[in-house]
Amino acid sequence: MGTLSASLLGAANALDTYQYALSITQNNIGNASTPGYAKQEAVLQARPFDPAEGLAGGVSPGPTVNSRDLLAERGVWQQAAAQGDASARNAALATVQNALPVSDGSGIPAALTAFFNAASAWSASPNDGSARQAVMDSAGSLVASFQTTAAAVANASRNTDQSIHDTVDQINRLTTQLANLNAGVQNGGQHDAGLQAQIYSALETLAGLVDITVLPQQDGTMSVSLTGGAPLVIGNDSYALSAGAAAAPANPPIDTAAPPHTVIRGADGSDITSQIKSGTLHGLLQVRNVTIPGLTGDASQPGALNELAQTFAGRVNEIVQAGVATAPGLFVTDPAHPTSAAAKLALDPAMSASLLPATDQNGVSNGVPLALAALASPQQDADKLDSVSYMQFYGDTTAHVGGQLNQAQSDQDLSGQLVAQARSLRQTESGVSLDEEAMHVLQFQQAYQAVAKLVSTLDNLTQVVINMMQ
């Protein structure tokens, strides 16, 4: 009778145990598409079996095993950061590129061409008042083009700044959320699969915005810091970042009114910009602090657009004033503020069509217009900027931005594939057998080496083919 009772009790335990296993399976199925959720597995433990002692054996529920793997998660985070970086650069650079017209029909290239054509027409009839006026008008259009382009780049800079602030706000919201979730873990939610799913989902979103290091703690909470070391979340405390203008540089700036870089500060107020090496925030900072200053300047450089405006205006004034030393220049620039040369380029108010001299210092009656027209295809170094014509310099500047945009698009394409692959690897990671995996990995290593050689051969071969097509 005792044996029968023990058997019935064992059977009841087994039913309870399978009910427990079933509930875990149901939980897995129900959360199959929950972001951040990792498969849970039921572990069944054998109960002691000794009929003489009344121990009926059977099974009882053991601990629930979480199939989440930090190695696979880190792979996804790393690629999510690279994807965020490339996407942000792509979007921000597209705005900058739109600010720089490259066709002959618009913007600075069109205005330069019109100016050179007007000078050329003037050289054919140096005493023609309408030809002189056409030069003045085209110079006015060129001034407007420089101002419009500088304003468009400044607008792109403001938009990028706004995106940086939005990204920092998003980071702060996520770190606050993670600190709250950590508090939930500390309050007994360490094995709560739903809580864990929320934590990992927030971490993946955060990793796309900025490169992070995550350290699981003994109490089940997650400590999060920037890869460079600045803390973001420790226990149930979050450390807010902020974005703002950089402090005045240690070295004297080339222009006291130079636009400052945008920097990120940690919770203690220190500048931690250099700690940000990937993610959306890094991509935006790259465009804001490297690409845009390359065009419109910062404390250490005037920027290509300003350099072009300043040098071109200076050279045109030299040519005009070489004709009549007392004549005003055609353009006015402010040498004290080289970083606003394009934005503040203007026609000299003292100059008019009637004052524009045609005769040069050698007495050639159309020497000035000829010299101005020659700037289109310069022969002497004085008429060039960085050893190329003004038009070519502008073309190289826009091509540089275009090259960066092209690279960002290519990086975004690749990182999208790498994120998808990392997620796929994470997915296959769940519920693995170590023995099986050991064998797979050894096989994988051998297969990898073979395929890697093939890829290398193909890459070389394609390059040979491309070179043959030149």
């Binding site: 790498l418 296959t428 395929v451 043959m468």
Partner: protein, 121 residues
């Protein structure tokens, strides 16, 4: 050499590399072997193209653009392969640490070859 003749091997190579790249999106050991077969096919196609170019002179700009695109796709396949391999290497390190512990220097201990054959059902 007509451009169409040159385009065929290039398009074939591109198609194979794309297929290999799709396999690498969810890499498994058995897929890698299929991947190797595809890439070998792409190599044959490119060698055929190279020989045609040697015989018939340079192709047109469109062909060059297509070849440049292929070059990019091959590099993407390489990056996918590299990431998958890195993942595999990290896994192996973990398995070594889990089964043999660590060396005095702190790196995962090597697994001595034991001459066993594993069979999978």
């Amino acid at each position: 050499m007509p451009e169409r003749t040159l385009q065929e091997p290039l398009a074939a190579a591109q198609s194979r590399v794309r297929e290999a790249r799709a396999l690498l999106a969810c890499p498994r050991t058995c897929d890698l072997e299929a991947c190797a077969t595809l890439l070998r096919g792409a190599q044959d196609d490119l060698e055929q193209l190279r020989d045609s170019l040697l015989a018939g002179g340079p192709g047109g700009g469109e062909l060059r653009e297509q070849a440049t695109l292929l070059g990019r796709e091959i590099r993407q396949a390489g990056a996918l392969l590299e990431q998958a391999a890195r993942f595999g290497r990290n896994w192996l390190e973990r398995l070594r640490a889990a089964s043999r512990g660590y060396t005095a220097a702190g790196s995962p201990a090597p697994i001595p070859p034991c001459g066993q054959i594993s069979l999978m059902g």
